[in-house]
């Protein structure tokens, strides 16, 4: 990511680029976890992430608990990788296949190790085995993922709604689920987005600082631009 910068502005950034070259201190641990469960391990920004096939999901987490000492369940959740967002920005690159990515982060209680296990299931057949038997705390997390994404967890004792009222239709955290308040009133109001005359210079400066591939017209059409006040606060000295 640092390499996409037009030029390294300070020694700090050059240092960061070098760090990327050197193996991450957690890389070895990620490898060992990946080989223990038969998955693929990466370190993404100090987070060990191990991807496994969906049919090994329960088996993987059982190994993590029993053999790797990751006894504490942090959370189970999902990401909806979708090409049709009703709200928010679309993905930069179109996906070949729309999937749900399931995440389960588990941790130990001694050295501070934590691993995020990940697996992908297709949109059309969003079914996966439940982790309730492995981590009792997965019960509520899976109920939440069920109502928010429509993912079915086989073997779960009670997939009733957790947060949503009983008659609620739809799965709110799906990218295709519109946010009603945004439909009624775009927010922040479009008036806030108009650039102040004095901001013209700053804008071009900001773009040269940021990643160079951002498209200016898309920005203008984007209703979620920071308000001028906010942006002013964020500006570096």
């Amino acid at each position: 990511m640092t390499s996409s910068q037009p030029e390294a502005e300070s020694a700090e950034e050059a240092g960061a680029a070098e760090e990327v070259e050197a193996p991450h201190p957690l890389a070895e641990y990620a490898e060992s976890v990946a080989s223990a469960v038969g998955g693929e391990g990466v370190v993404t920004f100090d987070t060990v992430k191990v991807t496994v096939p969906a049919d090994q999901w329960v088996e993987t987490l059982t190994t993590a608990r029993d053999e790797l000492g990751l006894v504490m369940l942090s959370f189970v959740s999902a990401i909806d990788w979708s090409n049709q967002p009703a709200v928010g920005e679309a993905l930069e690159e179109e996906l070949e296949e729309e999937t749900f990515e399931l995440l389960a982060t588990v941790a130990d209680l001694t050295e501070g190790r934590r691993v995020t296990f990940s697996t992908r299931i297709p949109h059309e057949e969003a079914v996966i085995d439940s982790l309730v038997e492995v981590y009792a705390g997965a019960n509520w997390h899976e109920r939440e993922a069920h109502e928010m994404f429509g993912i079915v967890f086989t073997g779960h004792p009670d997939l009733s709604h957790l947060y949503l009222p009983d008659g609620f239709l739809g799965n709110p955290l799906l990218k295709s689920f519109p946010l009603l308040s945004r439909e009624v009133k775009p927010w922040p109001g479009t008036v806030d987005v108009e650039a102040m005359p004095e901001d013209d210079d700053d804008e071009s400066e900001a773009e040269s600082e940021g990643d160079g591939d951002e498209a200016a017209p898309a920005d203008e059409a984007e209703p979620e631009e920071a308000t001028d006040d906010e942006a002013d606060d964020e500006e570096g000295s």
Binding site: M1, T2, E12, A16, T44, F45, D46, T47, K49, V71, M72, L73, S74, F75, S77, I79, V87, G88, E89, L91, E92, L103, T105, L109, T110, E111, G112, R114, T116, Y135, A136, G137, W140, M148, H161, L162, Y163, L164, P172, F177, L179, R182, D202, E203, E205, A206, E209, D211, D219, E224, E225, A226, E230, A231, D232, D233, E234, E235, G236, S237
Partner: protein
């Protein structure tokens, strides 16, 4: 019938269960109940004085923050995250900022990190003081409330003097803390820092907090009724607590010496001298006592930080329009309630593609069906209160 120790403590219960047939009934507690810290409903099957098959019903405070985060920019999300656990709003902001800074590869100035540490620990003190006030009150002792809330008000005043808000500071910025008026602009060069008297007053406030801890310990630890209602009640074995994801003081009370401040590097806690407090039995009493000791440890951290705070800028150089490069990370922090974490997925835009909020109270009370199985009805309040949850933190 043999009388075990627990039954002896509740003589009334002994006479009832021996003499009478007790038909089963369903008991609804809440959603509006003074001991639920918000709107939590419990549905319990009751047989005599014992409860079985307790089902917590949550969601009354659900605000859909994970969805809202997808339609907001990073600076705007700060206002959302400090409303998750509103008793310690400041502590919720820090891990989110750290996650965004990690993806942007920004190095936060030391002085800003120190200020974050000071304010986070003050948020912890004020959150634990609310527990010190409310928990004895739920068990029938009103006096500790006045001692605890008096000191909390002083701490909140100091937080307010820095951030402008008692509950929702919204003080963190990506790359540091809020630059005081003018310091971030190219046209206004005046630089303000923390209020001039802040450090002196904070030191004084910490002394007062420590004194209040003594008073609270005197008041509560010597109270036979409170001891009888909390000792041996609601025992959580460490392995069960871990499987449910119970973290923070609740887990440490069960004897697990695990504190994210010691193992994660989101704030410079390695620069300060403090102990991880643990309990022995994992009962309600230990959870009270661990929190009391944590106030003392937090006061220790704040005093050290105030003495050793480095000088320098409050804010790193960041682009005017915050765009976070593509990537994902999980950052967790030791919130007053337990592990507060954000799984942040960015696609290079101005807002996250997905923000999973892992809040401590959610997992902490997911153990309630297990913890309340077969307990006496009055103990429901004792056990629930001792878990110290906030419904905003449960429902997000």
């Amino acid at each position: 019938m043999t009388l075990d120790q627990e039954s002896v403590r509740h003589l009334s219960e002994v006479s009832v269960s021996v003499e009478l047939e007790t038909p089963e009934m369903t008991l609804n507690i809440g959603p509006q109940h003074p001991s639920t810290h918000g709107v939590l409903r419990l549905m319990a099957r009751v047989d005599g004085e014992r409860t079985y098959d307790v089902r917590p019903v949550i969601g009354y405070m659900h605000r859909g923050y994970e969805k809202l985060a997808e339609v907001r920019t990073y600076p705007q999300i700060t206002t959302i995250v400090n409303r998750i656990d509103w008793v310690s709003g400041y502590a919720n902001e820090v891990p989110f900022m750290t996650a965004a800074e990690k993806l942007m590869e920004i190095e936060v100035p030391e002085r800003a990190l120190w200020i974050r540490t000071i304010l986070t620990e003050m948020a912890r003190i004020s959150s634990h003081l609310v527990f010190m006030a409310s928990y004895p009150l739920e068990l029938g002792a009103a006096t500790p409330l006045f001692f605890a809330l008096r000191e909390r008000e002083r701490v909140l005043d100091l937080l307010e003097s820095v951030t402008g808000g008692r509950f929702h500071p919204n003080f963190n910025r990506i790359g540091g803390v809020k630059p005081a008026y003018g310091s971030g602009s190219s046209t206004r060069k005046m630089i303000q820092d923390l209020p001039a008297s802040f450090f002196a007053e904070t030191k004084l406030a910490m002394e007062n907090v420590l004194e209040a801890c003594e008073q609270l310990e005197d008041l509560v630890a010597g109270n036979e009724i409170i001891l009888a209602r909390t000792r041996g009640v609601g025992v959580l074995p460490p392995e069960v607590a871990a499987a449910y994801g119970v973290t923070g003081p609740n887990l440490r009370a069960s004897g697990v010496a695990f504190d994210l401040r010691k193992v994660e590097d989101y704030l410079p806690y390695d620069q300060f001298d403090f102990d991880v407090v643990t309990g022995e039995n994992g009962d309600c009493w230990d959870r009270w006592y661990v929190r009391l000791q944590e106030i003392r440890q937090s006061a220790r951290i704040v005093s050290q930080a105030v003495d050793s705070i480095p000088s320098g800028p409050l804010q790193a150089k960041v682009p005017k329009v915050i765009k976070v490069p593509r990537g994902e990370t999980y950052v967790r922090a030791e919130n007053p309630k337990g592990e507060m974490g954000y799984y942040l997925v960015s696609d290079g835009g101005q807002g996250p593609y997905r923000l999973k909020i892992r809040s401590a109270s959610f997992s902490n009370i997911s153990i309630l069906p297990w913890a309340l199985e077969g307990v006496l009805i009055p103990d429901i309040i004792a056990i629930m209160g001792s878990l110290d949850f906030v419904l905003g933190d449960v429902d997000r």
